[in-house]
Symmetry: C2
Subunit: 535 residues, 2 copies
């Protein structure tokens, strides 16, 4: 049954019709306080009746039991017949978690121990490069889920780096990414981490193979060059070995960890433990686990991921707002929005229910964002005065990450936070004016998330908040948020173009190079292969 | 009169009702070919009748004469009583351009000469730092329009750098930005470029003042430290001098150059000439001028900015698609989407016509994007299978920027371009399947822009294409795309919060600190000022 058939959905539709005409009142009660994060949603276009109906919607959708099924390891990713257990990765003091009758916690802990041991031996200098130099330049090669989450965490936690360690990411198959990231890289101190579950991801394997050639060209063809300067995060032991990596230096994960939910597995664990130290990675896990426990145990009406997800549903399905802006007032969180973009849009950008029925309502929203105050000088004009309201998430911190200009009466962080406090009210309440160009309609909804520090714990907490908000929307809508078949067709057509390129390179006159393509693609491909803008 | 009252608008509404049910046919003729760029729009949900009606809409809006008014220096930014003449900045072989009867071209050329002279004296070592070292580390401090355009151009043209020169940007008032960018900066070789038209932009002046203190702490309080290590791009000579900068080292621009259109003024010219050399900056100007000439002279039906803008209008106002994805298949163009986001959303995120009448149709779309293939592993799932169609711009290049793996049959660039050619067809034609999870609806519109090289000329061309596409939409809709009053209210409320913070810092018990704030803001501000998550 579509969620649209529930009583709650009907109630919400009726309420929406009435509510849009009422002025916004900032509700005192619309706040969740914990000792780690405050979530204030008093500027959403809701009242207590709407909130009650949203809670009813969650109940009619069976949300509580779906959450529990996820945590318990049931195979809720039905299209791929997999459990969804990124929460187990950080449930280190919890009990057993069974998948097909097997407790996965010992395996999870064993991989963590291996990461801890390996990274500490790198930091101590026990493990060295082939010329005897310490391995200080970590280069993680991965794309999508093997890249965006770890990158967000690395940026957010950069001041916590182990002294001297550097971390960079190569993701794009565009050679520019490889060329620029290796331009001033010292091969003797470089450690490449190849991150690909199957060790077949096209972009990653292309970059890995180029990295291998590059290292051989710099340090010689001795197999130990690869053995000592490459490690893998993968589940494909044979392919890892065939590449030349010591199977001892492969860090595993499991099919119950999806790419975009894998930042707290070895996918994030290996590069982040090398960069920040294992203890800081462990603090990321603690922060994520704190949010996991909150999500699993807090009543729905005091549950931050649940409320924020239900408000998204209200905004998307009832208010008709199909985009959302993510606005961390934190330069350290500059890569949070791109990671959210992936997690939200890849999970819930779907048109069928979990059983394959086409949806009859809108699903996942388009999310985008930049750190404040930068965004204020860019796209906020539209958020304040455009014709398409964009619900916004403001994320702020009580403390700065660096003490810059702390001797000033108004510090850099104060200046930042004046904006953080001002913008949600400007959006909510607007301003009348005799000059129509200076009128602000107000009634533009936003959330405020306020945390203490920009530390690894908070970074992990915000990661898990995102994951659970996404999952909640999928649970209520009745989607499978954990597959991503929408990326398959492009891959398939890409392989077809690749085959045509190979044909061309064998025989430029082979007529089958362009056979069956539409005229537009055929012409453009011809231009590309001939290397001229005109054919 | 609202553009909605035109015959063409009514025609387009009628056509839309019929068109959505027809299958997409990739039209051979829907392409503009030039010797610098090919624009293929055959995958838009249009036919020749729609295109004809869009051209009629442009005519009924008086587009041609509005374009001409802009180029001629008429004060089309009526709310601020300013001309809009970023095109004059690169019209170096053209005739006079009059503003208030004064030819501005000599002033423009004089600033360019000054930039050329200054940057060449830096590169030759004639101008040195206070300790006699060459100034190789350029740090541009600016935000919004003083940052995003130059950053896009710097990233796009990075391989063209003058040997040894480095360029970084500090924009965010969050001290993290300053701290990280200066962490390994050598003060003796640093040259700060302070970019602010009025020299009052809060973020920029805060960062500039912190930079000044930082330099004094490193190199001493000698006024020559500031004189030799700081220059300005500004129009506020008095304030620049008061800061301690030699007025000789101030590079001017004019009120006819708006922030987000200023990348080809001294705003971009100074940092980019220092980084890339003046000759490469000049090539950026040439590329922009090429597009300016095309925009001003090509018939509307062969005019790339005009057609792309009219298709945006079709998608926004008739198809109801209020977002657009910008997808350069180029890692070098990784900062193009953020610059587009600013230029589009700040210009056309408006709710009133140029005369102050409220609009009765949707205006500027939400734009976002990441380079391909990275985006494919992130948000493309929604673009392929979500419920909200997202028109997409694919931007590709015939040649790679770096020769990486050119010995392979399928090079990095080939691999990238297989995706570039495959994705638009996957979106347009979709795929049927017995498995509903693997169905692709198709009929998802996209544009293809294909250029030769990722060089300064192309970067300038793509900059101007963006500027003119944005202006065209404003001209047709009847907006003023050149003001931005939507950013004022947030600033005003920010100053109010700032005043409260100052009160608190004088007397923590002053009751007026929180007086008049709503409960939510009062509570959150109290938490911030008390430094505790709980009050």
């Amino acid at each position: 049954m579509s969620i649209k058939q529930t009583q709650a959905w009907q109630k919400l539709s009726d309420m929406k019709k009435k509510l849009v005409k009422e002025p916004l009142s900032v509700g005192d009660g619309l706040q969740v306080k914990t000792d780690k994060i405050i979530f204030d949603y008093s500027r959403q276009l809701v009242n207590e009746n709407v909130m009650a109906a949203l809670m009813q919607l969650a109940e009619e959708a069976g949300l509580k039991s779906k959450i529990e099924s996820m945590f318990c390891g049931q195979k809720i990713n039905v299209t791929e017949n997999r459990a969804v257990l990124h929460t187990a990765l950080r449930n280190l003091s919890g009990g057993p978690v069974l998948v097909d009758g097997r407790d996965v916690m010992p395996e999870i802990k064993a991989v963590l121990q291996k990461i801890k041991g390996f990274s500490s031996r790198i930091h101590s200098g026990e493990i060295k490069g082939i010329t005897g130099k310490p391995l200080k330049n970590i280069v993680a090669i991965g794309i999508g889920g093997s890249y965006l989450g770890p990158e967000y965490l690395a940026e957010a936690c950069a001041p916590y780096t182990v002294s001297g360690m550097k971390l960079s990411f190569i993701s794009n198959v565009d050679g520019t990414d490889f060329a620029r990231k290796t331009a001033s890289l010292d091969p003797e101190t470089a450690l490449f981490v190849i991150v690909s579950k199957t060790f077949t991801t096209a972009e990653t394997m292309k970059n890995a193979s180029t990295a291998k050639k590059w290292m051989i060209s710099k340090l010689g063809a001795d197999p130990n060059v690869i053995k000592k300067h490459f490690i893998a995060v993968s589940t494909a032991a044979d392919k890892v070995k065939a590449f030349g990596i010591d199977p001892e230096n492969m860090f595993g994960f499991w099919d119950f960890v999806g790419g975009r939910f894998s930042a707290t597995s070895a996918v994030g664990g290996v590069p982040l433990s090398l960069y920040l130290g294992y203890d800081n990675f462990h603090k990321i896990l603690e922060g994520a686990n704190w949010m996991d426990v909150h999500y699993r145990t807090a009543p729905l009406s005091e549950n931050i991921p649940v409320i924020s997800a239900l408000l998204d549903i209200w905004n998307i399905n009832f208010m008709g707002f199909k985009t959302r802006a993510i606005l961390p007032y934190s330069q350290a969180y500059s890569k949070y929005a791109p990671h959210c973009q992936q997690t939200e849009m890849e999970s819930n950008g779907k048109s069928v229910l979990i059983d394959g029925t086409p949806v009859d309502f809108d699903t996942g929203e388009i999310v985008f964002g930049e750190p404040g105050t930068n965004g204020q000088h860019s796209f906020y004009q539209l958020i304040h005065q455009g014709t398409t309201p964009v619900p916004a998430d403001f994320i702020g911190f009580l403390k700065p990450q660096y003490n810059v200009g702390q001797e000033d009466v108004i510090t850099h962080h104060d200046e930042l936070m004046t904006n953080f406090f001002a913008q949600p009210d400007a959006l909510a309440f607007g301003q009348d004016s005799n000059d129509p160009h200076k009128k602000f309609s107000g009634k533009r909804p936003s959330n405020i998330f306020l945390l203490k520090e920009q530390d690894p714990f908070s970074a992990g907490l915000m990661l898990a908040l995102l994951e659970h908000r996404v999952a909640t929307k999928g649970f209520v809508w009745g989607l499978n948020s954990f597959d991503q078949f929408g990326v398959e067709l492009g891959k398939k057509l890409g392989l077809d173009i690749r085959r045509r390129m190979e044909l061309f390179k064998k025989d430029q006159k082979d007529p089958s190079v362009y056979a069956g393509l539409n005229n537009s693609t055929a012409k453009l491909l011809k231009l590309y292969l001939s290397g001229e803008l005109y054919s």
